[in-house]
């Protein structure tokens, strides 16, 4: 250990699986941010705050009112969609630029953090469920059920969003608007309406991520900031506005982190996401 001995194959297999599944959660968080940044040209730091707010709402509804997580999730996603629409109306009303959006949403994230702390205090919160500690056993591998479901949902959402953007009129129109809004508008595309729809979807994706954060992680208001670095790296590695790229970037970072923990030392894992990002930016693969 500590790099002196070669780890066993079973350890590497388990670490690989852990990394892939953790990457699914990264991808889920990155999805809405990537679309907002790539197609609306808005860098929405409030996305993390909304994901955590979604997590708190899921936990609160579950522990205080016995609302099952999937029903709580549906409610959160529905409400968040309209929040996203409203947020975009504000951005359009005040003609917020890409850089300004980052500053405004940073302030928004701080407000959400304080609000969460005021309502639910800064204590750690854990949503205990019967299936939270359960795993499927596949050969020598233990596959955690919740993390697997989160990965499947992340994959399904990324694939569906990719297909929507690629094969539907709305999706192609959104991509055209991202390339050149005036020309797209000249061709009769309702950019305004479509951007409301996309902003709502991005916020709804934050809600979906929040449901799984509630079920998998320990909640604290300051968790908002713990995701930002790694998810930003995922978004850039995956390519702005690329749903499948967000998932792939998440898996890449998740696997690199898990392998670092398995082969080197867990304390090195936080270095991984930005090291991978810098390496990829230096070599500039085609998709970035």
């Amino acid at each position: 250990m500590g790099g002196s001995a070669m780890p066993h194959l079973s350890l590497l297999e388990q670490a690989l699986l852990t990394g892939v599944l953790t990457g699914g959660l990264y991808g889920l968080l990155a999805l809405g941010l990537s679309l907002s940044w790539g197609l609306l040209r808005l860098v929405n730091l409030g996305h993390f705050a909304m994901a955590l707010l979604g997590a708190y709402l899921t936990w609160w509804l579950g522990t205080s009112y016995n609302v099952a997580p999937w029903w709580a999730g549906l409610l959160v996603v529905f409400v968040f969609f309209f929040y996203g629409v409203g947020l975009h109306w504000v951005f359009m009303r005040f003609r917020v630029t890409e850089m300004a959006s980052m500053l405004i949403t940073f302030a928004f994230a701080v407000i959400v953090e304080s609000t969460i702390q005021t309502i639910w205090t800064a204590d750690f919160r854990r949503y205990e469920t019967a299936w939270g500690s359960q795993s499927w056993v596949v050969g020598s591998l233990y596959v955690p059920k919740l993390n697997t479901i989160a990965f499947v949902v992340a994959g399904a959402l990324a694939a569906a969003t990719w297909a929507w953007l690629r094969y539907t009129y709305a999706g192609r129109a959104l991509r055209a608007c991202a390339e050149d809004p005036p020309i797209a508008t000249a061709f009769g595309i309702n950019h305004r309406g479509l951007s409301f729809l996309l902003s709502g979807l991005c916020a709804a994706f934050a809600g979906v991520a929040g449901v799984f954060i509630a079920l998998i992680a320990t909640l604290a208001p300051s968790e908002i900031w713990s995701w930002i670095g790694v998810v930003f790296a995922v978004v850039i590695i995956g390519g702005l506005g690329n749903p499948l790229g967000a998932l792939a970037g998440g898996v890449l970072i998740g696997v690199c982190e898990a392998m670092t923990m398995a082969i080197v030392n867990p304390s090195w894992a936080p270095l991984v996401s930005f090291s991978v990002l810098i390496a990829l930016l230096l070599f500039r693969p085609r998709w970035i």
């Binding site: 780890p7 350890l11 852990t18 795993s135 867990p266």
Partner: protein, 404 residues
């Protein structure tokens, strides 16, 4: 006056006199005058809130018992507690407020190493005697009026790991392969390095030291490493719920550590079935021999009732609560001995004397006013409760170290 009346009057006088004599001392003990205000911040919200609540309950019990026994210097004591949200910067600011705006007469240190170090600077600036009960790195306490209520001696990083290894060695089956899992939080990391030194000194194989950052979200990969290493003893220098999080992650991959130690576990750990046989250190528990003294027994009984009412997951007096109570006993001993609220006089008295409290008789002759020697015990989770198992003379009657 008839003979009957004389006897009647004499009888009434005797009853009244007896009653008055019984009441009189109690009335004399009633504290009067302007309250003595003693201030403290605690982590009532934030990451250490569960432990902070345990400290608050212990403080409140002490002050209530003190007032019921006549107060301090004949005056009632008022406990002023503020919430530092588990954040050192807030703790520092609030101690400024306690001393300058709330005008407390005395202060008691907060919970947790970082908060204590932040508050100690304020105490030093205002020349207040500073008694704390959870400083993990006493060598950092350079303030001359700092006094530690803990009993781990001047360097627990050298003595506690040795105790752990000695305890397991006493079973005739000492651990041969030890894996250290360590938070990078300074006091925890120091203890992990102390275990490395102890292992090296006795030639026991160290399988490695897995360090992780404070605030680590995901213990799955660390759990995979532990399972892969399969140590005889997993020594985890952890804080709060981290130990429970690792145990959950280990459970998800179907692994149960054979022998396991946790440095600063949250109280809830004992209630966790996964933590069976987990080891930690202790200075006070709601079991014999600690509750063999009247003060220890009364405190433990009252604490258990209040902790259960407050919904604490482990509603029994433990080291955290005991240390807090012991800290108050030390401060009050200093005040009573000097008959003064003068911080300088109290500090000078404590510097030269020993104090008897619920954790035993202790001195302050160690570096940074710690105990001269490490007087801590080891405790183990057995059937959902912490019981003490080491050293043998401090063992809970009937308890044996379980070392599979």
């Amino acid at each position: 006056m008839t003979g009957r009346n004389v006897w009647l009057r004499a009888g009434i006088a005797a009853v009244v006199g007896f009653t008055m004599s019984a009441i009189a001392p109690a009335q004399a003990q009633q504290p009067t005058g302007k309250p003595i205000r003693i201030g403290q911040t605690l982590s009532l919200t934030g990451g250490f809130a569960q432990t902070g609540l345990a400290h608050r309950i212990a403080s409140e019990i002490f002050v209530e018992r003190l007032n019921a026994k006549g107060g301090l210097l004949g005056r009632p004591v008022e406990y002023v507690v503020l919430d530092d949200q588990s954040k050192p910067d807030i703790s520092r600011t609030l101690y400024e407020r306690l001393i300058t705006a709330d005008n407390v007469d005395l202060i008691i240190g907060p919970y947790g190493t970082a908060n204590i170090l932040a508050a100690m600077g304020v105490a030093q600036r205002y020349h207040k005697v500073f008694i704390e009960n959870t400083l993990g790195q006493p060598q950092l306490a350079t303030y001359e009026w700092h006094f530690s209520a803990t009993i781990g001696g001047p360097d627990a990083t050298s003595t506690l790991p040795v105790k752990v290894l000695d305890a397991y060695a006493s079973t005739g089956n000492p651990p041969k392969k030890v894996l250290i899992v360590a938070s990078k939080f300074p006091s925890a990391n120091d203890m992990a390095k102390g275990m490395e030194r102890a292992l090296k000194a006795r030639g026991t194989e160290e399988l490695g030291m897995l360090e992780y950052e404070g605030g680590t979200r995901d213990f799955n990969s660390i759990a995979a490493r532990v399972k892969d290493a399969d140590p005889d003893l997993m020594f985890m220098a952890s804080l709060g719920v981290e130990g429970s999080q690792l145990l959950e992650a280990l459970n998800r991959i179907g692994y149960k550590p054979k022998r396991h130690f946790y440095l600063y576990p949250s109280g809830v750990m004992a209630a966790d079935p996964l933590a069976d046989n987990a080891l930690s250190y202790s200075a006070f528990e709601d079991v014999e021999p600690y509750i063999s003294t009247p003060e220890g027994a009364a405190f433990a009984k009252e604490y258990d009732a209040r902790a259960a009412k407050a919904g604490l997951p482990y509603p029994f007096a433990d080291s955290q609560a005991g240390n807090e109570y012991a800290g108050w006993e030390i401060l009050i001993a200093g005040v009573k001995a000097t008959n003064s609220l003068d911080d300088k006089k109290i500090a000078e008295w404590l510097d030269k004397n020993e104090v008897e409290n619920i954790e035993g008789k202790r001195d302050f002759s160690g570096r940074s006013h710690t105990t001269a020697t490490d007087m801590q015990q080891l405790k183990q989770v057995q059937k959902g409760r912490w019981v003490t198992i080491w050293p043998l003379d401090k063992r809970t009657p009937g308890a044996q170290l379980v070392a599979p």
